[in-house]
């Protein structure tokens, strides 16, 4: 499990660094086309928004693996003996939400959107593929929550 998690981490890091760099280039290209070429590029704004969805959801998944999300441990500090139980319950809730809402709900959204054949205004991309970030992040978050569960508490 640990080896697999390391591999997922490294892969996500590569993807995130690339998406983030693309996002910066994209916004800067928009500035350049507006000022220097005097012809605003219509596709950069849309591409940047779609990149944001991917960076946001994949970044949130990676952050879950890195335990970076904001959470409060008031109860665990108040009753230290509850800590193991709280940890298992909160990870189980996280995994359930990620799997059922982002995973199943997201997958259904992708299928529905593909079925309706919705495309984006400027780029003509199929919105179903843009929404693919939802089920993907759902699966990644479930994976991180479960791998955390399988490890002994610190």
């Amino acid at each position: 499990m640990r080896g697999l998690r390391e591999r997922v981490d490294r892969l996500l890091e590569r993807v995130l660094a690339t998406l983030m760099a693309l996002m910066v280039i994209n916004v800067c290209w928009q500035v350049v086309t507006r000022f220097i070429l005097r012809q605003p590029s219509s596709f950069t704004e849309e591409a940047a928004r779609f990149l944001l969805i991917w960076v946001g959801l994949l970044g949130a998944s990676y952050a879950l693996g890195q335990r970076m999300h904001l959470a409060i441990d008031v109860l665990a500090r108040w009753k230290p003996s509850w800590r193991p139980g709280l940890r298992i319950t909160s990870l189980a809730v996280t995994a359930t939400f990620a799997l059922l809402v982002l995973g199943v709900g997201g997958a259904r959204l992708v299928l529905l959107t593909l079925e309706l054949g919705q495309t984006s205004a400027a780029l003509g991309w199929s919105l179903g593929y843009v929404y693919l970030a939802l089920p993907l992040s759902g699966l990644l978050m479930t994976f991180y929550a479960l791998s955390e569960l399988s490890e002994p508490a610190q």
Partner: protein
């Protein structure tokens, strides 16, 4: 009509999941899903929530947030914090208040390039708290000053939370909000500084001053100038209508990159992938909160909760001051246990229509709300800046709290002033033509 069962499920699920210690975004998302499940079948409900999360993130204004996070991290690693502090030290170290003022001015300057209170608390606190301890102020006092002063970065532009408010309010101008934040941000700094100096006097702490040195001031000023120029480029561009906040954030990234790679030379190209990953993870933390909170806000609108609250508040037939006061008390209470981003996204749609009805300008209301929730960032049980500040200061909450209490009072004084003097927020945006 508001269904009380759904309000109960919404609040109950949120509090229980959060108390378990799950990520706050998960608690918000679970509450939204559970509430909708009361009246709908599971498959459409999870699809709707998922769709709300995705459409919330599909926004060009929000794009400014990851870019400002990235430029802030580049500036931080690139050595801007240290240079800004050196300049602050030379500039105000000789005034009564000495290092206390240096800490606060450092937070104001760093807040102007980073837009995040947590980053400011970590960057400035890391330098200033040990220095203040060395000068005999004590670690706990230094930490308390650093924590409260860091929140000024949320009002002084560029500010990610004001972008979030613009989104929640349905499109209040980001440029107007950014300009509106300056004076209230400075006011909070001034109030915290006064209280801190008085507190130091009462405790008999020796307020050490650094002798004025024109040469050192000029040298440190020149070293800090490229960092400060970033503010001029970003804010000048936004105010002058040259670019949008998002485009300005993109320009800020390029500027910060060139500055730290070529001018300050404190980071190398090899470190860039790691910085990009860190920025994207921080972005993920913020954006999943935005997505989940927007989903919850949508569910609340679906359940007619904002209308219910509005009717209730307007039926009290109280004056604008009383209504604003009630809202502020609610927000102060909410701020103690809820993080700022979900609080802004969830409570803006509920309170803003009532505030507008009462004749409060949406820009003014945004500043009040952010300043109010800044207090919550410094208070237990949930205070992000408080925890980061205590971590950087290597001290504990119970030791910092005695020094924090008078500083909370100073922040509340600033809040009352900002609330009762609308011109404090509205004068600058009006002068530059962003408000009628």
């Amino acid at each position: 009509m508001v269904d009380l069962a759904s309000v109960g499920v919404l609040g109950g699920v949120f509090l229980v999941v959060m108390a378990l210690g799950a990520p706050i975004a998960i608690a918000v998302g679970t509450a939204a899903t559970a509430t909708l499940l009361l009246g709908g079948s599971p498959l459409p409900v999870v699809t709707t929530i998922s769709q709300r999360v995705a459409t919330a993130l599909d926004s060009f204004s929000l794009l400014a947030i990851p870019l400002f996070i990235l430029s802030g991290q580049l500036m931080n690693r690139g050595g801007a914090a240290r240079r800004l502090l050196e300049f602050g030290k030379a500039l105000v170290g000789a005034l009564p208040g000495g290092l206390v003022l240096v800490n606060i001015v450092g937070c104001l300057l760093f807040g102007a390039i980073s837009g995040s209170a947590v980053a400011t608390a970590a960057a400035i606190g890391g330098f200033m708290i040990p220095l203040m301890e060395e000068e005999g102020y004590g670690r706990d006092y230094g930490t308390a000053v650093n924590i409260t002063a860091s929140t000024t970065g949320l009002l002084i532009p560029p500010s990610n939370i004001l972008i979030v408010y613009s989104l929640a309010s349905g499109g209040v101008s980001i440029a107007a909000l950014f300009l509106a934040g300056y004076l209230p941000g400075l006011l909070v700094g001034a109030c915290v500084a006064s209280a801190a100096v008085v507190l130091a006097r009462i405790r008999g702490l020796e307020v050490a001053r650094i002798p004025w040195n024109t040469g050192a001031t000029l040298r440190s000023g020149i070293a800090a100038l490229p960092s400060l120029l970033l503010v001029v480029v970003v804010m000048g561009g936004i105010i002058g209508g040259v670019f949008t906040a998002t485009e300005a954030a993109g320009v800020a990234v390029v500027y910060a990159l060139l500055l730290s790679l070529l001018v300050y030379r404190e980071i190398s190209v090899r470190e860039l992938p790691a910085i990009l990953v860190e920025a994207s993870a921080t972005t993920g933390v913020v954006l999943i909160l935005v997505g989940a909170s927007m989903a919850l806000s949508w569910v609340m609108a679906f359940e007619n909760i904002p209308q219910g609250v509005a009717e209730l508040m307007l039926s009290l037939a109280a004056g604008p001051i009383a209504v604003l006061l009630v809202m502020n008390v609610v927000l102060l209470a909410v701020g103690t246990f809820m993080d700022m981003t979900p609080a802004v996204l969830i409570f803006t749609p509920i309170f803003l229509p009532v505030a507008i009805e009462m004749g409060v300008d949406p820009v003014h209301f945004g500043v009040i709300m952010v300043l109010n929730l800044c207090v919550g960032l410094c208070t237990p049980p949930v205070g992000t800046v408080l925890f980061v500040g205590c971590g950087v200061g290597e001290t504990t909450l119970s030791r910092v709290l005695p020094s924090l209490l008078p500083l909370y009072a100073a922040m509340l004084v600033a809040l009352v002033l900002v609330m009762s003097l609308p011109e404090l927020s509205l004068w600058l945006p009006r002068t530059f033509g962003f408000l009628p």
